[in-house]
Amino acid sequence: MNNSWKLYWQLSIAMIRTGILGYGGGPSVIPLIRYEAVTRYRWMEDDEFGETLAIANALPGPIATKMAAYIGYKLKGNVGAVLAVITHILPSCIAMIALLSVVSVLSTSKVVAGMIAGVAPVVAVMLGVMAYEFAKKTIDGLGKVMGIAMFLLAFLLLETVHIHPAIVIILFLAYGSIHFRTAAKWKKEHKNKESEKA
């Protein structure tokens, strides 16, 4: 099997796996997609994954298929994007059409309810680990003081003022675009003042 086919194969397997193991809609599948793309196959760095996720969150539409499409595109262009989305959604779409006749059995079954409930804590752990890793990146990049200030600001805007996440992301992106320039300027002025004093 040459490399190109191997990559198509890995992409399909990764997307099928995330598609059939992600319970609870888009957000719960994000840590699984990250595991395949960042940890297992190293198709992208965590930074890039975070950035992709942020921009995907700022755009409308289902989140998991946007992520699948971008990962596929990054690896294999348009063909990769189409393949990733199809392999991610097809198993559950087929099951949906095939199983409607047994809907009442499935949705009232205690075994099915128990299975879904059993996965919720696992998903919570995966989301928590991801939160920790993005928080660590923030502190590494911005330092403790500014990092914590940014957490508080993000929390305040999202959870207390209830500003739409898309708007919060756009605000932070806007500041981010001038962050390094501002920081450099601030440092320079600070230095000048110090030397004036001396």
């Binding site: 598609g19 193991l21 804590p121 989301l127």
Partner: protein, 180 residues
């Protein structure tokens, strides 16, 4: 033919206006599927949603596949899926391509850095919500126990999350069904 165009418009609108992923689009889909085009009635919609929630995978595409197939056959399914997935995926790819070109500029580096705290907070909130709903459905001890074992398995033993999820399914199907 008309139904295919209607499927395209209906699913495009429901998803293009839904922010925050699939689940937030459900009320908009209800509007198109039940109120506007009458592809399903209220009872059928809630049956479909129950089945969709019992199956894995993204919810928006499961609904699109089912309603598209029901209203317009296999072509209908493809049209509804395309209208759900393609516009937002294309927009994301386009935006990231623009960023990729300027990957090494300080502007893009700053943007990459400053979205991390927002993502971290959003993940904390999701963790909290997922934990809360788990505790209210299976109680605090089951939730904490499964969480502790899965943390140990994934972070210390470095097991593939798929194995952990399959194990959690098994535990849920065998043990938790009695507390449902």
């Amino acid at each position: 033919m008309t139904v295919w165009i209607q499927l395209m418009i209906g699913f495009f609108l429901a998803n293009a206006l839904g922010y925050g992923g699939g689940p937030s689009s459900i009320p908009l889909m209800y509007e198109e599927i039940v109120s506007h085009y009458h592809w399903l009635n209220n009872q059928e919609f809630s049956n479909m949603l129950a089945l969709g929630n019992a199956l894995p995978g993204p919810i928006a595409t499961k609904i699109a596949a089912f309603v598209g197939f029901d209203a317009g056959g296999w072509v209908g399914m493809l049209v509804a899926l395309g209208a759900t997935v393609i516009p937002s995926a294309a927009a994301l790819i386009f935006l990231l391509r623009v960023l990729e070109k300027h990957r090494h500029s300080l502007v893009v580096k700053g943007m990459t850095l400053l979205v991390q705290p927002v993502i971290a907070i959003m993940m904390v909130v999701l963790t909290w919500q997922m934990g809360k709903s788990s505790i209210s459905s299976i109680g605090i001890w089951h939730s904490l126990g499964i969480a502790a074992v899965s943390f140990w398995a994934m972070e210390k033993l470095k097991l593939h999350p798929a194995l952990v999820i399959v194990a959690a399914f098994a535990y849920g199907g065998i043990v938790l069904q009695h507390s449902m």
